[in-house]
């Protein structure tokens, strides 16, 4: 009985470490990853039923093909891949006497290192997109990170002569993070790095300061461009803002010539139960009466969309990349540098 068990184990290991299994596993991994680009990812179950019909849609939902790269069986597949590599590597360990075989071993183990790093990130990485207006600060702890305060000192957009954006730059300060202070101008492709925490330039927009007065009570609001903000008193009223930094008019109506604040103008819509009841256009410092409210356009400023990310696994992944390339070099050095190979 014990012998039978032993033999079965041996057979399993032999199968797992066989070249044939590797080929089929690779083809399977390729096919499955490709499938995830053909089926739209991240939609609600109803979407798949609607798009693919009840039958196919139900299968997609059952196998979570709509969240394929996060499906339990996809992780299982990665685990099997890891296992196959480890079994194979362990068997080859004894034979790794030349640069070629050692290179192959390092290359395969590098894949395991990368997957381990990805797994670590999966469990412990956190990320948040935070919109911060100029001269304002946010507490990292509010977004699930360690203690620290992130301030946007200023934000700037550089343009090409044809007004296409050349670069977005945020001057930021990170204070009290792991007993350290940072001050840096970040832009697209140059994030701030503080240990495992990174802050990226990700987005931008306008923050509008509006004052609303009704029956002697005054409300001052910071509203993002295109956002809707509830007004008191009563739950039904709201104001929606659209900022035209470079206001102009033609036969189609009002528009913004550029994204530069050359001729700033604010479009206000008063909403009641979601329906627009009044609209107005005002310049900074101007006032307008709509319904029971008196609105004034106090100020405008940039806000910067900062992506904050804490990811301890990424260093392991990058170490895996280096091993991967070193392994490749070792495995094929003869083919690369001498005119021979296997």
């Amino acid at each position: 009985m014990l012998d039978k068990q032993k033999k079965a184990n041996k057979d399993l290991i032999a199968w797992l470490s066989s070249m044939k299994f590797a080929i089929y596993l690779l083809i399977l991994v390729g096919a499955v990853t490709a499938l995830g680009t053909i089926i739209p990812q991240g939609e609600a179950p109803a979407f798949y039923l609607h798009t693919y019909g009840d039958g196919v849609g139900a299968v997609i939902n059952l196998l979570t093909l709509g969240h394929l790269y996060q499906a339990w069986w996809f992780y299982l597949l990665m685990l099997v891949l890891t296992l196959a590599i480890l079994v194979c590597a362990f068997q080859r360990l004894r034979r790794a006497r030349s640069i070629t075989t050692a290179g192959s071993l390092v290359f395969h183990l590098a894949i395991v290192v990368i997957l381990a790093g990805a797994g670590w990130s999966l469990g412990y990485a956190r990320s948040a997109l935070v919109d911060v207006a100029e001269q304002q600060a946010v507490n990292l702890a509010d977004y699930g990170f360690g203690a620290g305060q992130l301030t946007l000192n200023s934000f700037a957009i550089e343009y090409y002569p044809d007004f296409q954006p050349r670069q977005y730059t945020s001057d930021i300060s990170l204070t009290g993070y792991e007993q350290q202070d940072y001050n840096l101008k970040i832009n697209v492709n140059n994030p701030l790095q503080a240990g495992n925490l990174k802050v990226y330039q990700s987005n931008w927009g306008w923050m509008l300061k509006i004052k609303a007065t009704t029956n002697g009570s005054t409300q001052v609001m910071d509203i993002k461009d295109y956002d809707t903000f509830p007004l008191g008193p009563g739950p039904d009223n709201a104001v929606r803002v659209i900022f035209l930094p470079d206001y102009a008019e033609d036969q189609h109506g009002a528009f913004s010539r550029t994204t530069l604040p050359n001729n700033p103008c604010l479009g206000l819509s008063l909403l009641q139960s979601g329906r627009t009841v009044d609209m107005a256009l005002i310049a900074p410092g101007e006032e307008v009466r709509m319904g029971q409210y008196r609105f004034s356009f106090e100020d405008y400023a940039y806000y910067s969309g900062l992506q904050i990310k804490y990811d301890p696994g990424v260093n392991l992944v990058f170490a895996g990349f280096i091993l991967l390339l070193l392994g490749l070099l070792g495995r094929y050095w003869r083919l690369f540098f001498a005119r021979e190979g296997d």
């Binding site: 977005y168 992944v317 991967l324």
Partner: protein
């Protein structure tokens, strides 16, 4: 000027296809001699197109799909000239000429206007990432042409097939190593620019699929069962996946690689 040169290159490639078809139909020494001439001329044209682009933009021509494709056709041509010195097979000439004609036909639909670099592309990784991709895909393209020959001329003697198989293998190893660099530089860049070294973006995913197919080839070639024809098929399929990664994904599956 660039437009005319582009048209000229296309006509030269078509001419190369016709000459090679004629060679197969009725072999003649003068046709053998004439066969590579349009290809040499086409390479010269492409060189001028790219040089003009560099002087106009002040940067390397690696920033969009159009520049990528023109560059890739040129690299395939150079690789082909190199291989051709020791591989005098009309089928090979025809396969390369046909492939390049098809690539060029696709190129015609790509926007070629010069645009300034958007912020995401202003990175020290751009050159390394795109240049390795061009080299990798070119290696796979030539391996594909040889794979076709292997499958078409399967009744040839073993020794001749073995030589072709060896060349395919060398090309795939180079391509695979370069593709590994493409994916690694892409991941490091993505971490810097998008805050995520891997996001299952369609182009990213398909480059991984390509990598996996060629990894399967490298394993297959070492087994007795998959050696030979089946391996050659994997090289052919691999390049079809490359083409899909390059063009299919851009057309059918929008994602983060919007500029490519």
């Amino acid at each position: 000027m660039a437009e005319n040169l582009l048209m000229g290159t296309f006509l030269l490639l078509v001419l190369a296809v016709l000459i090679n078809l004629a060679r197969l139909w009725s072999p003649a020494t003068w046709l053998d001699k004439a066969a590579p001439l349009p290809m040499y001329l086409a390479a010269a044209f492409l060189l001028v197109i790219l040089a003009l682009r560099v002087t106009d933009s002040g940067r390397l021509p690696l920033a969009n799909m159009y520049e990528f494709s023109v560059f890739m056709v040129l690299i395939i041509l150079l690789g082909y000239f190199f291989m051709r010195r020791s591989l005098a097979a009309p089928v090979f000439d025809l396969a390369v000429a046909l492939l390049l004609t098809l690539l060029f036909a696709m190129l015609g639909s790509l926007p070629s206007d010069l645009r300034p670099l958007m912020p995401a592309l202003q990175s020290r990784w751009l050159t390394a990432h795109v240049a390795t991709a061009i080299l990798a895909y070119s290696a796979f393209a030539i391996a594909f042409c040889l794979g076709i020959i292997y499958l078409v001329e399967a009744n040839q003697e073993e020794a001749a097939l073995k030589v072709i198989d060896r060349r395919i293998y060398r090309l795939v190893v180079w391509g695979f190593a370069l593709l590994t660099l493409v994916i690694v530089t892409g991941a490091v860049w993505a971490e810097e620019v998008w805050g995520n070294w891997w996001s299952w973006d369609p182009k990213e995913t398909w480059s991984l699929v390509t990598w996996v197919v060629y990894a399967a080839y490298l394993h297959a070639r070492r087994t007795s069962e998959w050696k030979g024809r089946r391996s050659a098929w994997l090289v052919v399929i691999g390049f079809l996946v490359v083409l899909f990664t390059l063009f299919g994904v851009s057309i059918l599956l929008p994602g983060l690689h919007s500029y490519a």
